[in-house]
Amino acid sequence: MIQQIAFVITLGIAAFLIRKRTLRIRDNIKLGKPNNIKDRPSERLQNMLLVAFGQKKMFKKVIPALLHFFIYVGFLVINLEVLEFVVDGVLGTHRVFAPFLGSFYGVLMNVFEFLAVAVLLACVFFLLRRNVMSIPRFQSAELNKWPRLDANLILITEIVLMTAILSMNAADQLLQGRDEHYVATGNLFFSSFLIPLFENLSTSTLILVERFAWWFHIIGILGFAVYVTYSKHLHIFLAFPNTYYGKLEAKGHINNMPVVTNEVKSMLGIGTDAPATPAEPGRFGAKDINDLSWNSLMAAYSCTECGRCTAECPANLTGKKLSPRKIMMDTRDRMEDVGNSIAVGGAGLNDGKSLLGDYITKEEINACTSCNACVEACPVLINPLEIIVELRRYVSMEESGAPASWNNMYQNIETNFAPWKFSPSDRFNWSKEG
C-alpha cells in the first residue's frame, strides 16, 4: 500500500513537471509569427510517416542509422512495458498482464530484453563515437560544455535504464521459484546471463534487489521523460510535427513576403486585391525570435544537434564561422532565455538582446551560399536556411547593413538591371560579337 501511494505521488510529480515544461515550450514557440500551414495534408502526412516514423533520411548513413533504429524501436516497444509498470505501480500488482497473455507474455518479454540489449550496445557505441572516435561534427566548439554533457547524459541514462530492466528480470526469474507473488514468465534469454550474479542471495535480499531495480527503472524513466523536455533529446517527439510542417516546395524556393508584394505593386501602379496597408506591418525580416515563423522556432526545439547539416556546409568545411547547427541551437537558446525571463516577470524580448547580434553574428549569416546542403542533410526536415534568409532580410532592409559589395550589387541591379556594372543597352551585344 505504501508502495502504491509512493508510486502515485511519483507519477503525479512527473506529470506535473512535464506538463509545466510542455506549456513553456508551447509558449516559447508561440512567440513566433503565425504561419497558417494547412496545405497538402496528405503529402505532409506522408512526409511524417516516411521521414519521422520511417526514418528515411537517417539511412543515408547506414551504420549509425541501424543503431539509431534499435534505440528508436526500443523506445517505442519498451514503452509498452512501462505501461505495465504504471498499472502494477498503481494497483500494487506484479506483472499484471502476464495471466492475460499466457505464454505470449514470455515471448514479449524476450523481445523487450533483446531490444534492451540492442539499445544498450548502441548507446555504448554512440558514446565511443562521440568521445573516442574523432568525428568532426561531434568535436565542434558549439558543443562545448552543456551540449556535449547533455548528449553523454542521455546515452549513459539509457544504458543505466536498460541495465536496470535486465537486473530486475534476472532477480525476478530467481524469485519465480521461491515466492508465489512472482508469476512465471518462462525463461528470459538475455537476463538469465545475469542470474549467476544474484543466485546466492537470500529471497528477502532478492526481493529487495528486484524492488530496487523496478523503482529505479520507473523513476529513471519518469525522470528521463522530464529531462528530455529540457534537452536536445526533444526530437523524439518534435520530429513528428516538424516533418509534418516541413517545407513542401522545391528547396530552391524562398518564402515570399506578401507585405513587400503589396508595396511593390502600389509603387508599380499594379492593382492589388489586398488592403494597401496591412494590419500589422512589423519588421522586414527577423532580428529576434518573434520575427521568425512559429515553425522555425519549433524546428529549433526539434534539433538534436547531430550536426549532419554542419558536416555538409561548404562554408563551415572551409573554416568560416557559419554552422547551420549553431543557427538552430542559438535560436533555441534565445527562446529559452526569453521564456525564462518572461516566466519571472522579466523583460523578455526587451532585455536589450536579440537573436541577431547577441547570438548569431552577421559574419555567420553572410557566409551562407544558400546551397541547401544543410537542409538536404537534416534527418527531420529542419531548414536553417529559412532563418538565415530572414536575418539577412532584416540586415538589408531594416539596417541597410549588408556588406558594401552587396550594396553595390543592389545598386547595379537598380540602375543597370544586372548585378554587375554594365549598361543595359549593352545587354544584347553578345549577338554581334563573333
Binding site: M257, V264, G285, T369, C371, S431
Partner: protein
C-alpha cells in the same frame, strides 16, 4: 547565327514557342557569352522556334532576394513578369540555374506562370528525341569527364540526371566526385556570394571543390551554371592546372562533339 528577338516577332504578330532567357552572366560575362552562343548554335541546328528578349531582359532578382533585399527582388520580378506576360510567353529555357529556379519557383506567386526548363533538360530532351545525334560520341569518346552539380539544379530542383545523360550521350567516361548529386559540394558562389568576397576562413570553397574535381583525373570538368563556371575555372587556375584541365558547359561540349 540566327537570334530572333521577341519584340521583332511581336511586331510581325508572331511569338516564339520558347523564350531563351539569357541571364546577366550569359549576356555580359565574357566566358559565359560563349555558352550562350553555343546554346544558340544548337537551337539553330535543330530548328528550335525560339527568341530572346534582348535589351528587354533584366536580372531575375535572385541575388537580391538571397542577400536579403526583398524589395529589389520583387521590383525586378514584377517588371520581368509584366514583360513576359505582355508578350504572352508560355515556355522559357535558360542556361542559368539561378534564373531557372527563380522564374520556375518564385515567379508564380507573383503572377508569372510559365513552363520553365533548364538547358540541361532541354539538351537531354533533344538527345532523347533524336534531334541531336552524337554518333560515336565525337571527340569525347572514352575521355574522362566529371560533372559538378549546381546546387540550384540539384538540391534546389532535384535535377541530377539530365546533365549526366547529356554527358553519357557524348560517350565520355563520366567519373563522379565523392561529393556528388544530393551531397554535391557548392562551388561557393550561390546565395549572392558571387558578388562579395568570402567571409574569413581557412580556404576558398571553390579551391576545395576544384581539388576534388581534379582528383578524379578528368581533363574536362562539366558545369551547367555560370557561377559554377567562374568558380571552377578560378579554382583550377588556383591549382595551376588550367593548361591541362578545362571547365566547360554542357552546350559547349555538344557543340564541340558535333563540330557545330
Amino acid at each position: 547565327m540566327n537570334i530572333p528577338v521577341v519584340a521583332d516577332l511581336a511586331a510581325k504578330g508572331e511569338s516564339p514557342e520558347v523564350l531563351f532567357w539569357v541571364g546577366c552572366a550569359g549576356s555580359y560575362d565574357d566566358r559565359y557569352k560563349r555558352v550562350t552562343k553555343a546554346f544558340v548554335k544548337i537551337m539553330n541546328a535543330v530548328g528550335t522556334n525560339f527568341a530572346v528578349l534582348g535589351t528587354e531582359e533584366s536580372c531575375t532578382g535572385d541575388p537580391a532576394r538571397r542577400a536579403g533585399n526583398e524589395f529589389l527582388f520583387q521590383m525586378q520580378a514584377m517588371s520581368n513578369i509584366q514583360v513576359l506576360n505582355g508578350y504572352g510567353i508560355k515556355k522559357i529555357v535558360t542556361a542559368c540555374p539561378h534564373c531557372f529556379n527563380t522564374i520556375k519557383n518564385e515567379y508564380p506567386e507573383l503572377g508569372g506562370n510559365y513552363e520553365v526548363i533548364h538547358h540541361s533538360t532541354f539538351l537531354q530532351q533533344l538527345i532523347n528525341d533524336g534531334k541531336i545525334k552524337l554518333e560515336g560520341g565525337g571527340s569525347f569518346k572514352g575521355k574522362k569527364i566529371t560533372y559538378h552539380d549546381s546546387c540550384y539544379l540539384g538540391r534546389a530542383n532535384n535535377i541530377y540526371e539530365a546533365p549526366r545523360q547529356v554527358l553519357e550521350a557524348l560517350d565520355a567516361d563520366l567519373v563522379e566526385m565523392k561529393r556528388c548529386r544530393t551531397t554535391g559540394l557548392c562551388c561557393g558562389a550561390g546565395g549572392a556570394q558571387m558578388f562579395k568576397d568570402a567571409e574569413k576562413g581557412k580556404k576558398e570553397i571553390n579551391v576545395e571543390r576544384a581539388e576534388e574535381a581534379l582528383s578524379t583525373g578528368a581533363k574536362t570538368i562539366a558545369v551547367a551554371c555560370p557561377f559554377c563556371m567562374t568558380m571552377m575555372t578560378d579554382g583550377v587556375k588556383n591549382k595551376e592546372k588550367e593548361a591541362e584541365v578545362s571547365v566547360k558547359d554542357l552546350a559547349e561540349l555538344i557543340v564541340e562533339a558535333k563540330g557545330l
